[in-house]
Symmetry: C2
Subunit: 177 residues, 2 copies
């Protein structure tokens, strides 16, 4: 059974570099009205990159909202209208220095559908060749190689907490074990 | 290697029912300054609930940011300071009508760490007994029972796209197969 909420009005509260916040009034299926706080985002792309020894390439970086350094698969934001595959190839090269002989779509997911419209795409990258990292001047991260089996363990024991990384690692592992 | 961004100033742009938006200025590791758009959120709890026939309980509901009806594991928002386990037990009962004889922590994850501080907790619920659904007057969802193996397939073919659901289903399946 499908439900629907009809937009009555929409107000843009903030429009920034990363996100836009809108607060909309909607009509519910029972005719009542409700307010919806919505973060609009261009979406992101992430990459499960595996070397010939079945090591995963992960990046460790400071994530300001949590005040923690997190271990994640390489990723970046989409520009409006950008092709996710090209974005993933670019981000993998910039953050880790690698290009892939084999670059394939793995999954698309919705990180937290209660309040954001962000779509996250995951690709797999294999047959890697090192060409040199190309970080922005204001981008700080360190690259780590972790055996795939160990990375799966780290998803279960909470050492890897980032959703795109957990989903990418568990899906890749199930497809390749 | 760890990095750090030091807060210089913080401005609250919006404070709503679901989220608060802040825009902060920070000092980067190289001494430059940058702006950080941060969604503050109390966090959420979700439940992988499995009946005696290895069916998963899923809820289908309209998600306004995407304009789609999504299939998800039962879930709800935390009140400030609320215990995640009690929240999970309450949400499972309200949305599906079930209480669990066995309710256990499965995972904690960060849905999209670039711009939100939301923490999502996942529990597993087994030995289910039906006590009656308790939906709010303005809450619309339908409950579906789907065999665990089929739900795993639906994560891979994109029929289930919600992050907490994909992570919960893949983790539960790996622990129980």
């Amino acid at each position: 059974m499908d439900f629907f909420e009809k937009k009555i009005s929409s107000k843009t509260i903030y429009s920034g570099k990363v996100l836009t916040l809108q607060v909309d009034d909607v009509k519910l299926p029972n005719g009542n009205t409700a307010s919806r706080e919505v973060v609009r985002h261009n979406g992101g792309v992430s990459v499960v990159a595996i070397d010939e020894d079945k090591n995963l390439l992960l990046v460790r970086q400071y994530r300001y909202p949590y005040g923690e350094n997190l271990l994640e698969i390489p990723a970046g934001k989409l520009e409006k209208g950008e092709d996710p595959e090209l974005c993933g190839i670019r981000e993998l090269r910039e953050e880790t220095g690698y290009e892939a002989g084999n670059f394939k779509f793995l999954a698309e997911f919705y990180p937290t559908p209660g309040y954001t419209d962000e779509r996250l795409y995951i690709f797999t990258a294999e047959n890697l060749t090192y060409k040199g990292q190309k970080l922005d001047a204001d981008e700080f991260l360190s690259v780590q190689r972790i055996p795939l089996e160990k990375a799966v363990e780290m998803c279960f024991n909470g050492e890897i907490k980032d959703a795109k990384s957990v989903i990418g690692i568990l899906m890749y592992n199930k497809n390749n074990s």
